[in-house]
């Protein structure tokens, strides 16, 4: 079943007379429960695609359908509701709230997400049960990213969107976090979209989309993706 559909999506940025198309008439779709990796060089349009999908930004033209709902024409409040219920974000720099504890950062989403999961259980699953009362600044980068994953999963969204989730971590920690991310996504049956420079991650994906200059260069379905342990990091 198609969970995401992009139809002729363009996102332009204007600077004076100069117009830059970060995404240039993209058509694509994503299947439910798949692990999708978006690759491309800096400026290829990866993050723009993720931001549009996550409801952080709206397209200049075209239509984005998520679970049968056109999100490209939603207003501010509707987009906030969409972000609260349909998508979970994992950022490169975690973006945790420094004044809330680990538990509170995760449990926070219960205030807005209608189908939120039990925060304590999720934190247990990501291995942070003993750090629930700590503040983000007291954790390592890997641990902070695990909190970020727990927060994204806790909302119980349909899709997990990850922008360079291992980009700020050393390779060893990055692999651990990636494994966790994938296992959590699979356990909870989420579609997961990861935007990255890292070609190795693509080896684990069901679908690999390559972007260049705002256009899709290739859209490859991998029938037998590798597991994290099989990839040479």
């Amino acid at each position: 079943m198609k969970v995401v559909e992009f139809e002729k999506i363009t996102r332009s940025y204007t600077s004076g007379e100069h117009v830059l198309n970060a995404l240039d008439g993209i058509d694509m779709s994503l299947e439910d429960g798949k692990f999708v990796v978006v690759l491309g060089q800096s400026g290829a349009g990866k993050s723009t695609m993720l931001n549009l999908l996550g409801g952080l930004d709206t397209p200049t033209s075209g239509k984005i359908t998520v679970n049968g709902r056109d999100i490209s024409r939603l207003n501010e409040n509707q987009l906030a509701e969409y972000r609260a219920s349909e998508v979970g974000f994992v950022f490169q720099f975690y973006n945790l709230i420094p004044t809330l504890t680990v538990y509170e950062n995760v449990a926070l989403v219960k205030e807005i997400a209608p189908n939120a999961l039990d925060a304590e259980k999720i934190l247990d699953e990501v291995g942070l049960k003993d750090h629930m009362k700590n503040f983000p600044a007291e954790l390592s980068g890997g641990e902070q990213q695990r909190v970020s994953i727990a927060r994204a999963i806790c909302k119980n969204p349909k899709i997990l969107l990850c922008d360079e989730p291992t980009g700020a971590l050393d390779s060893e920690t990055g692999v651990i976090v990636l494994k966790l991310l994938l296992s959590m996504a699979r356990n909870y049956g989420k579609t997961i979209v990861i935007v990255t420079h890292n070609q190795n991650i693509a080896k684990m994906a069901d679908v690999v989309i390559r972007l260049k200059n705002g256009k899709i260069l290739s859209y490859d379905v991998q029938p037998s993706p590798l597991s994290a342990d099989e990839v040479e990091w």
Binding site: S47, N51, G54, L56, D57, E76, N77, A80, E81, Y82, R83, A84, S85, F89, F91, F93, Y94, N95, L96, I97, P98, T99, L100, T101, E104, A107, L108, V109, E111, I112, A113, K133, F135, A137, E138, R151, K155, A168
Partner: protein
Amino acid sequence: MLLRKLFRTAWKYRAQFISMVIMVAIGIGVFLGFNMEWFSLKKNTDRFYEETGFADYRLYDKTGFTADAAEKLRRIDGVESAERAFSVNVNAEGQDKNVLLSLNAVEGDVKFHVTAGEGYDSSADGFWLSDKFADKKNIKVGDQLTLSYSTKKITGKILGLVKISEYLICVSGESQLMPDYDVYAFVYVTPEKLMNTIGMDYFPQVNIVGNKALLKKNKNEVEDIVNAALGKTTLVISKEDYPVYSEAKGEEEGKTMGSVLPVLFLLIGVLTMITTMHRIAANEKTQIGTLKALGFKDRTITLHYTSYGFTVGLIGSALGVALGYLVAAVIVSPKGMMATYFDMPYWNLYIPWFCWIIMAITLAFLTLISYLSVKNMLKGTAADALRPYVPKKVKPLKIEKTKAWSKLSFGNKWNLRDVTRHKARSAMTLAGIVGCMILIVGGLGMNDTMNGFLSLIGNNIYNYKTKIIIDEQADPAEVIAFAEATESDFVSSLQARFGDRTVAVEIYNVSHDKFRLTDKHNRRVELYDDGVYPCLRLSGGLKIGDEIEFSFYGSEKVYRAKVAGFLRSVMTENIAMSETCAKNLGIDYKISALYTDNAPEDISGYGFISSAQSKQTVMDTYDTFMEIMLTMVLILVIAALVLGVIVLYNLGVMSYVERYRELAALKVVGLKNKHIGKLLISQNMWLTFTGVLIGLPAGVGVLKLLLVLLAREYELTLILGPITYLVSILLTFGVSLAVGALVARKNRKINMVEALKGAE
């Protein structure tokens, strides 16, 4: 290139810079304005005193001073002039009976500030009249004027329209709060004309002007010298104790009162600057690091960032000086607030020397703040400087260990931690709210208190229609017969020495309920005959049953009396007693004033009546006073609102900028703008609630302090009506809510993509 960066960074932080400039400008402006006010008044009044020969000492003797006595006084070492003077309230023909003119005759040369006609000439035959009175009544030089004193008349031409420092504050007595030239003014004649027309050779006063040697002596020394010269004890009043001078000086004492407000503004201005500059420097840390890494010397970078503080201080101070002139001009100018109180020709504005020093120190301090802020960010190697500013780690609060914590909503937890984490910002917000509250409570409370005071006088104490001043030479039997026939109350007022102070001993007969005496709680008091009643200001260290001593000027006899209670005295510092008590003590007294229900026009033709003034006329002057009071209250409330808005807005924007990433993260997670707005506003509301809790008692405290400062002039009861409490609280919450909403609106513009891209 760095200069370009300087301007661009300033533009980036324009809201903060503008707030800082405004705060510094207001701080300096209000500080300067109030200090210019008292300083200019002092300079202008001193010039006026000097020009019109204001006496350094005044001697009083009801039996009158002879020419020989005046000569003896002139021979005292250090006395430049000693001139006999006479003054009495008279009516002017063709004017309402309520209109009183104080008729003066002084020997020697009288120095006027002449605004029309001629100056004083001891051989001239005519009047020199108050120019303000003439203006009100449309009287011109050359017009004929007839004055009636008792049953006698004195007629002459107006020779000059003048001002004189003796009538700098032209009021008929302590019961008149504000000058009203429609009903009271002054007029001068030569002693010769007075003698020729009404046959008087009675001078109960001598005005002494001394040289430096005499002025170096204290009042007691002068009193001893005078008494030795005249061979009897005489009432000596130094200019410091003379009502016109002390009241004018009292206005100068506004510097004590006025300093509370300006210092508060200046302090908040400087504190805002400290918080803001620190935060700007913290936000700029990576840029500071980049410049350092590029090879810029620490000195260049420091100079670059320090120039922000200097520029803000310089612009703020320049605007502050302009604002200071404006504030001062509202009070000190021919059309200003003080012009309704002081009748003087000079209204120049002067900046006190120390204000320049304070401004220089403020400017240096603001520059130092920027310097220290950037110095802090430059510490260590270039790599250290390149690392983003890391705020202190969050530590769990004590409340987090309690069960109540888990029951708090996310918003409350977030706000509580945010407030405790950003202590300086929270404290500043609190200071702004407390300051706002103090000003509003102070302003409205002062209004309530003065209204209550005037209503106490008008409705409770003064129960008469007319106050009649009895002539010094009146026959006591005739006066008492009149009082009995008209069912009038009366008082006799005598100047007495009580310890180091000169007080009025007031002997009352208030059997007809025309004049009421009240205690500290404004309850009516019936005077017992077995003791005396010092006023509240004299009550320090005394208790009922104690024995006090006092003596009258002109006599060596010391009177001892038991304290039977304490009374609220409207204006004068006095010791009150019943007529029977005075008789028991053996005090020889004459009735000074009668309180009657007869209208002034019904009691003319009695020789013993020096003047009569209706209660309404006096009460009308209070209206002018209350109008000025209301203007002051309005200024205070506006100042409070400006203070509240600027401090809260500046800190709100700063806090918004700092939490931009957090707010963006909340937005990404799915929180709606409304939800985030509520978070921001609720934090403001918490701080406002705390600020109100502190500000309300603090405002009452400041008000009490003001009343203590004013206690020399009036015995006021602090009154704060429920409306004042309500309005103060509502206005403060209103400001906080409005500013909070204004800042909260900004979260709509949060660019989630941009905000979350940056490095942690």
